[in-house]
């Protein structure tokens, strides 16, 4: 299992490389990419802010949870922060498993949990020179991350 928060551009081929193994027939790579529009406005780039130390911890937890669900350790997740241009990769998730169902399930779990509880924020820059923080999701903080996992598994 590998997880990382980074300021550097994500080498997606290297992320895939982390999970390859001979016993696995399904290998999946999900990329989150900065797009050129949002909510009807032209976007020129995104600034990703993070509570970096906590984000490292939470991403490690999420990957460990996915590993437990999938029954494989062949998982890698990398989230980039800082200033990103259109088309650049903000998040890369690679999973490998003997069969496709677990791979799709594991990758989906990781991206949904990232969006739900990773302490990272997006500030969009618009073509007209304006900028703004995007609305986000409220993590269920009441009982910490264990509670969130239980809710997701119901």
């Amino acid at each position: 299992m590998r997880s990382r928060i980074t300021h550097e551009p994500i080498d997606t081929a290297a992320v895939l490389e982390m999970v390859w193994a001979q016993e696995n027939g399904a290998v999946l790579l999900f990329l989150g990419v900065v797009r050129d529009h949002n909510a009807g406005r032209a976007v020129t780039g995104i600034h990703y802010d993070a509570y970096s130390d906590m984000a490292e911890r939470v991403l490690t937890e999420i990957v460990a949870e996915a590993a437990a669900r999938m029954g494989t350790e062949r998982i890698a997740a990398v989230h980039r922060i800082g200033e990103l241009d259109i088309g650049e990769t903000s998040v890369a998730i690679a999973v490998a498993s003997p069969h496709r169902a677990e791979a799709f399930d594991g990758a989906r779990y990781i991206i949904e949990e990232i969006k739900q509880r990773l302490p990272i924020w997006k500030e969009e820059h618009y073509l007209d020179g304006d900028k703004g923080w995007l609305d986000g999701r409220v993590p269920m903080a009441a009982s910490g991350s264990d509670r969130m996992v239980d809710d997701d598994a119901r």
Binding site: M54, P119, K122
Partner: protein
């Protein structure tokens, strides 16, 4: 007791700083600290029930804080 407050993203913009060290009453809970912080100059914009992380873990309102805890106020998250 001394506590470090951290602000991120929109909250950092609103606070005008990413970090503030304050003296809070001994043994306050997270919920009590939020009320205390909202009464400080320039911090009245903080929501009444913000998402809070203590020492890098999401914290419940009834968590009792200790000396030198790192208390982060987190806007709704938007990673991915």
């Amino acid at each position: 007791m001394q506590l470090s407050l951290l602000f991120f993203a929109l909250y950092r913009d609103l606070a005008g700083t990413d970090r503030k060290v304050i003296m809070a009453p001994q043994g306050v809970t997270v919920a009590e600290l939020v009320r205390f912080v909202r009464a400080l100059p320039g911090l009245d914009w903080l929501p009444a029930e913000p998402v809070v992380a203590v020492n890098q873990e999401y914290a419940a309102p009834d968590l009792v804080l200790k000396y030198a805890d790192e208390v982060a106020f987190l806007p709704p998250v938007a990673g991915g």
